[in-house]
Symmetry: none
Subunit: 119 residues, 2 copies
DNA sequence: ATTATTACGAAACCATTAGTTGCGCAAATT
DNA sequence: AATTTGCGCAACTAATGGTTTCGTAATAAT
């Protein structure tokens, strides 16, 4: 449900920053960060918002985890930023969408296979 | 930046529920809700999460509003101006994803091209 | 080797503040 | 006109977010 402590640690490590460094950016002590990551305390909304700015992630990612976003079938759903949620796309469209991006590769493979199929 | 107080009031009104009613769902007093909406205080993360459950909105919508440009994981998603939405990034991995899903189509095209290239 | 330095955790304490209690007051309902 | 509904405000307190202080393990430096 609330994955904030683990998320904070994970994201912080990913950005290769220390608790000390993060603390100075938030104008809190290093130990405060430690408590957040160990689940001993929870930052107030202001600091939560600051964290989203520093790490450039959404609030939902910060407290629910990235799985919240990747849990959906991304070949079936696309992210609609306007409504901040995933919406279903037309399944048959996917093939042509991908084809429009990779027609050159398909053609290349086709020609290679086609060339050898002569013999 | 932080539009939570206004957002809460707005969303609550949209769902046609009263401060009293909302309070009982959160097991807090009616006055607590009043303070949240007037910006006199801010709910802790637990109550924020409960609010997202009750209203069925994202945390970002709740504190930033729907108009807010939501942060998207740009390593996973890129904005496609053609379709005016975020789509899964077309990277090296996706090509193989595509190929594994549509190898039959590639083969078909290959054979067609190969067939005609005989003449 | 041993002395810093880096990176973090844990306990005790304090100060802020989230949430409660109590009062009041319009605007609908009855 | 009396009651109910819906909400805001001031004073209080109980909870807790953040600090201070102490400790430890792991590297890096001398």
């Amino acid at each position: 449900m609330n994955k904030f402590p683990a998320q904070l640690k994970k994201i912080r490590k990913e950005q290769n920053t220390t608790q000390d460094d993060l603390a100075s950016q938030l104008f809190v002590t290093r130990q405060a960060i430690s408590k957040w990551e160990s689940g001993d305390s929870t930052p107030d909304l202001n600091n939560l918002i600051k964290l989203t700015d520093i790490f450039n992630v959404s609030l939902d990612t910060l407290v629910f985890g990235a799985e919240h976003e990747t849990k959906v079938d991304t070949s079936e759903f696309v992210f609609d930023p306007k409504h901040n949620r995933y919406v279903r796309r037309l399944g048959k469209m996917n093939f042509w969408d991908f084809l429009s991006g990779y027609w050159w590769a398909v053609l290349a493979i086709a020609f290679i296979i086609g060339f050898f199929s002569i013999f």
